[in-house]
Symmetry: C2
Amino acid sequence: MPVSVVQTADGVRAALASRRGSGPIGLVPTMGALHAGHARLIEEARHECVTVAVSIFVNPLQFDRADDLARYSRPFEADLALCETLSVDVVFAPTAADMYPEPLDCTVHVGRTAEHLCGAFRPGHFNGVATVVLKLFNVVQPDVAYFGEKDAQQLAIIRRMVADLNVPVRIAPVATVREADGLALSSRNQHLNAAERALAPALFHALGVVRDAIAAGNADAAALKRQASESIPADGRLRLEYLELVDPWTFQPVDRVSGPVVAAGALWVGSTRLIDNIRCTPP
Amino acid sequence: MPVSVVQTADGVRAALASRRGSGPIGLVPTMGALHAGHARLIEEARHECVTVAVSIFVNPLQFDRADDLARYSRPFEADLALCETLSVDVVFAPTAADMYPEPLDCTVHVGRTAEHLCGAFRPGHFNGVATVVLKLFNVVQPDVAYFGEKDAQQLAIIRRMVADLNVPVRIAPVATVREADGLALSSRNQHLNAAERALAPALFHALGVVRDAIAAGNADAAALKRQASESIPADGRLRLEYLELVDPWTFQPVDRVSGPVVAAGALWVGSTRLIDNIRCTPP
């Protein structure tokens, strides 16, 4: 059966009405520009759910920079073809006017979980993410929603929102998909030229340095971060925005590693900002 | 069948699971201390829905003053008896620890709709209201939720939240229930002594002055508010906190009345704060 493409909240509810009750509905929220990382999320949903919905919506509310929003890739036909290939049942592709017929007055506000890492560098970003994800949940009313571990702080915030607001959706995390050289898949990778692409795995390698040092018993966060930072090639095109060790649930920075932590970083490669993270466990 | 009383979110979902699908579920969110105004809400739910749930929860998040929270009446047995009488199916009565096992990090933030009237005098109040109502909606997952028009700004904010966040719940407003002398029923009325009780209808009368003047063609908000204010007896026990004319949807004050408005006020009667409102329509 071909994928059903709907643009409005009412359309989604109508498309799903007959399927509700026949088994779990899975939602994969995306901003389009689908790649093998998204495909992994969809495959996981396909494996677990009777009905799979994918939302494709470049959410203006979560962009802190207009130029970033403007250049965000929107290859809708290719995205749709991938959804067909992966046997998605319903694609929800609203416009900004469908999602925001007027400026919102009620939004989700994220506290301490959004204080550090990307939250510190992208003001309002995670309020925008949490708000649109809650809207998508309320429109689709899925049983399960799939999020990539690549966006670790986003995943932590969505989990926190679900717990705090009693949202009746199970959050399923899916492991980051990487290129052979370790670079995490991202829609933003396509903006890299060949030289930048060659430099881009530096972030993953720096996080690996941290993981190995923690596994070897190093526990001092400042020393670990210095070590990671020094592992990044001295190249004018590379600028480390942050590299931090945080608690996996609260996303608060730790001074000493005494249990599992998330090592997370953001690296500018030319004019492209990449993020990545690894779970680290002390010996 | 006796009313089923449950304390946890899981308990509510279990109690409602078998009823879901057999017809609409109605929710009446309350803070207990039930009176004839709540009874009207429950009767309306009973009339329209197959299953009626009442939540009884004195929400600490929406109290801006600790003394107000401490003295808020909690006559649980009487509340339960009323629910039985009105054939309520499920009473959800969580503790604060059930609702807030840890401090929330993700909350609902209300913007302009909460700027004026009660929102201006009770900082954080409506964020707390919107957050707990969204939690209750997510726990009970009702088809319809019933709110009294007496709390007009609250009702406007809940409607706005439902629209903004695509919450799949219909909001049903229910007319204010009044005593013979016009005093709107409120759990707070029981704090009035006999002399205060005799003075308390002053707010409703002041709002009536505004309604009649608007119906007679007076459109200048400043003059209307002055007239209303002057109608309140000069008595040391009465203090008008605000009396305002606002747009029924945005709850922004109007300077001139050119369509339907809500006239809303808050009056301190001794140490008790009462609110009321009337819909006014120009000729």
